[in-house]
Symmetry: C2
Subunit: 249 residues, 2 copies
């Protein structure tokens, strides 16, 4: 098998939610940010930015949004932002007659630019022995987060990543079988997903989530039902909010 | 400087648009797909899927959408899809009274799941000496792509990646300076972006894009003006199309 250290590290990825309470150092932060900046970007338009949270008070305020206390203990916290403001300003300064810096196309690119940048930071951090976790929960109340970060119009927060030296060793979480997630040439619809996912459902129930110490997790299909039969209104209005903020989508 | 091979490879990332015309091998494809499947996923909900294009006729049809002839020569072509269909079916099979599998929150997660998965594949591929490029151009006409890939409702194509052994050595493209892209604790608005980006504008003009052999590229601010004063209607309607396809955003 033609593999290597980085691939082994990717195949062993686990979210880390408990870190040693020591800084990761400015040199390493610098490397992570250089990697972020080097990430591919749609049409070379650089439609993403990073807010690095170093102010503990601000972290504590973000915890009120995320409701995950461990966020406040992340030695580093980066928030990745779809940024269509910078290019909008460039057009405005040049008095362009037309300005499509924030249409649906460019907003999507801003989101994907932000996400792939985050994943590059994750991979770089893990290659240095750091432990990371994605904080989707910073979007529980996007309006409050936008206020806290003083984000201008035509920007939207997309994802956050917490980084530090790991202080826990979580179990590797089972994954869905490839045949239900990777298709050749066209999408494959299955007759019965409960049937198709039966084996994966069983495997997942053997997994222990460290967040709920010593409690096995539910099957995948049960988790899907429980999580997706409810809605968070403030999360669900993400694209409505984007419109309010100047996106023409 | 505490760096390593993967970080050096990330800092030296270039898009590769010309590949040796040899397959990358099923074993390697298998590794890349395992890495994709191991990528972090919002709330453990696995809201992304991959369509692997192996049919040359289909690649040729996708070129008609992307208008980039070299897409047809990519030894491997993966299209990453925001997939809120699978979980919607699980809820429907369970006769859930409420079903929020495809609201704005879950759609955003489907998009970010797809994007970070793509970046993981990119990093794994590059670590094996492969050359990759993102094809955002597959979204030039999303309706046609959806038809070609037979994507069901509550799914949207997000991004594509071409992979093969590189047959060119492009120059490293300059990047914006970090102080205009990374901010501490809150977003920083500059008074004059042309002024702020002057140095970067100059650096970029020293760069040669292999796509336009021996022609230097425009400054960043000029590119922004040229690209964003125009709009592609079929690209811009991405989120409208998502609504038509069952997303409640």
């Amino acid at each position: 098998m033609k593999t290597n250290k980085i691939i082994e590290s990717m195949l062993n990825h686990r979210s880390i939610r408990k870190w040693k309470q020591e800084p990761i150092g400015e040199e390493i932060v610098g490397i992570l940010l250089e990697v972020a900046n080097r990430t591919s970007t749609s049409n070379g338009l650089l439609q993403s930015s990073i807010i690095r949270i170093t102010d503990q008070k601000k972290k504590d305020q973000i915890v009120k949004i995320s409701k995950q206390a461990y966020l406040a203990t992340a030695p580093e916290l980066f928030i990745f932002v779809a940024d269509n403001f910078r290019n909008d300003r460039i057009l405005a300064e040049g008095n362009s007659a037309t300005n499509f810096a924030a249409d649906g196309d460019r907003f999507l690119q801003g989101i994907t630019d932000s996400a792939i940048m985050a994943q590059n930071v994750v991979n770089a951090a893990e290659s240095l022995g750091l432990g990371v976790v994605y904080f989707g929960s910073v979007l529980n109340e996007p309006r409050r987060l936008i206020e806290l970060l003083k984000l201008p119009e035509r920007t939207m927060p997309v994802i956050a990543v917490g980084i530090g030296y790991p202080d826990q060793e979580p179990q590797l979480k089972p994954r869905i079988h490839l045949e239900t997630r990777v298709f050749e040439n066209e999408y494959k619809v299955f007759d019965n997903y409960h049937e198709e996912l039966k084996e994966y459902d069983e495997e997942l129930q053997e997994y222990y989530d460290l967040r709920d110490a010593n409690r096995r997790v539910d099957s995948f299909t049960k988790q899907v039902k429980d999580k997706l039969s409810l809605q968070s209104e403030t999360r669900a209005e993400y694209f409505e909010l984007a419109k309010e903020r100047g996106y023409e989508i």
